[in-house]
């Protein structure tokens, strides 16, 4: 097993989701105990005898046997999943019922149910994302806290509270027959989008958790794609946008470990297969009347992949897409990105005007790249001293050493006067 392989973490989500389907969502804690126990056994046995040929199947089989033990031991003391009715009461039906839920397609189905259940309408978006990461991706509280740059205590509180809401829901969300699938799907897509974004733009950019978050978001979105009622054009667009952004990940950090803006990335390091996959999904997403923010964001990312650099990028088209995005889901960050595109199209002065015109720009005041964009435009306009002040302001909000070094380098560039892009 390679150190980079997160077998246990990955399997944890599949196991908890499947076990919860058997035990019932109110017994989430029991499912977690059984998983914990299976990991302990794997740990004990594998360290002495080596890994089995198919470790994932070994873990699943162990979880299944432990589940049967728990069901037999506790069926008089507890009630289990209401969905399974009385099948768990008799030995004749118990084993086949459990067996069936451990089949490959049922495991995927279980994960879907859990994913939809985590997006419970009573939970705020951040809690939904944290819960997904914890339950479906096997991240410990500390790992989730690291991903969201939060303290252990705050994250633990959030997750415990969210688990209570989840365990309090009568049963798992039924992705096959729920009337409100379409509504809940919106929340699921949003949570996956936030999860991906946290990995892509998040504050903990030097932490190794980062790329994992993007990967996990993509893995879960793929489950939606494989489930027809959830594989809507919006889901495809969401996956396209993830592919097209993830394709740029290898170039975001250069050989010397420094952050590279889109303008200075070595585009030959963009992942061609992910770009192709993104493009394919974006084409598939273009069916039906629905145009979501995911479509538009994917389209923007796609335009970038068609250019060799900032010079031959179709900024006019990008501005048009940002105008659409401002209609669909306006936010100060979208407005900032729109201003940057306008500056590319019409010159830095127009960019500065657009930034000044952003509504609620106070919500951007602690965002380092708000100040950095102003700095860049002032620098391009030849006002080096003002530009430097903006970069210094950006520096005070840098969220990690990599951002800090990037902004320091920009501030230094003001002395020599070399703008980027």
């Amino acid at each position: 097993m390679e150190p980079s392989d997160h077998l246990f973490r990955r399997e944890a989500g599949r196991m908890v989701a499947t076990l919860t389907r058997i035990f019932g969502v109110h017994n989430l804690a029991l499912a977690e105990d059984v998983v914990q126990d299976a990991f302990c056994r794997a740990l004990e046995v594998w360290k002495f005898r080596g890994m089995p040929e198919n470790p994932s199947a070994w873990l699943m089989a162990t979880a299944k046997n432990r589940a049967l033990d728990a069901l037999r031991r506790e069926r008089t003391a507890r009630t289990f999943a209401p969905e399974l009715g009385r099948t768990l009461d008799s030995e004749w039906t118990l084993a086949p019922a459990v067996e069936e839920l451990f089949e490959t397609h049922a495991i995927a189905d279980g994960q879907l149910r859990m994913m939809f259940s985590c997006c419970h309408p009573r939970l705020p978006e951040e809690a939904q994302v944290a819960l997904m990461l914890h339950i479906l991706c096997g991240f410990s509280v500390d790992e989730v806290a690291a991903a969201f740059v939060s303290s252990h205590d705050a994250m633990e509180k959030r997750i415990v509270r969210a688990k209570k809401v989840l365990a309090g829901s009568r049963k798992l969300f039924d992705v096959l027959s729920a009337d409100d699938l379409a509504v809940r799907l919106l929340a699921v897509q949003r949570a996956l989008y936030l999860l991906f974004n946290e990995g892509y733009h998040g504050a903990s950019s030097e932490s190794p958790v980062r790329a994992d978050l993007c990967q996990e978001a993509m893995r879960l979105t793929r489950l939606l794609l494989d489930h027809p009622p959830a594989a809507t054009p919006a889901t495809r667009a969401l996956f396209a946008l993830m592919c097209l952004h993830a394709a740029r990940l290898p170039a975001r950090i250069d050989a010397s470990g420094e952050l590279r803006s889109l303008f200075e990335q070595d585009r030959s390091r963009w992942d061609a297969s992910l770009i192709a996959e993104g493009q394919r999904l974006l084409d598939l997403a273009a069916t039906g009347p629905e145009l979501t923010e995911y479509h538009v964001e994917a389209a923007i990312a796609w335009v970038h992949t068609t250019a060799h650099g900032a010079e031959d990028t179709d900024w006019g088209m990008i501005v048009t897409f940002y105008n659409k995005l401002m209609n669909l889901r306006p936010s100060p960050v979208v407005a900032l990105n729109r201003a940057i595109a306008i500056a590319q199209r019409d010159g830095p002065q127009r960019g500065i005007e657009e930034i000044r015109a952003i509504a609620n720009s106070d919500r951007l005041s602690a965002y380092p790249f708000y100040h950095a964009a102003l700095g860049e435009f002032e620098l391009r306009s030849g006002r080096h001293e003002i530009a430097r002040e903006h970069f210094m302001a950006a520096l005070t909000f840098a969220r990690n050493p990599m951002e800090r070094r990037f902004l320091e380098q920009r501030a230094r560039a003001c002395n020599t006067g070399t703008p980027v892009g």
Binding site: F48, G50, E143
Partner: protein, 113 residues
Amino acid sequence: MSEFVFLYRGGEAGRSPERAQQSMQKWMAWFKELGQSGHVKDQGQPLERTGKLVKGKQKTVTDGPFPEAKDLVGGYTLIEARDLAQAVELSKGCPILEVDGAVEVRPVMKLNM
């Protein structure tokens, strides 16, 4: 060369999936290193944490618990080393020590003493 038994006592298994996996990888790496240096006579076996205790002339049979979990033997390995000092030195690389566990190093008695 003399023989020694390593008895692995206690030790908290990683609580999160990632920690559990890291712990396992450390154990595998450690066993591999021991094996390559020619000190492993028999890698041994893990032991279940439950079982029965048979005691006294009455042969009374009781379930665990055995001593507290922190003292429980979770497995053993048969080691070859020059002397006790070297065996102790070898045990110091055991990952169980990082998680509050202990390695009991016991010389196997020789026949020709």
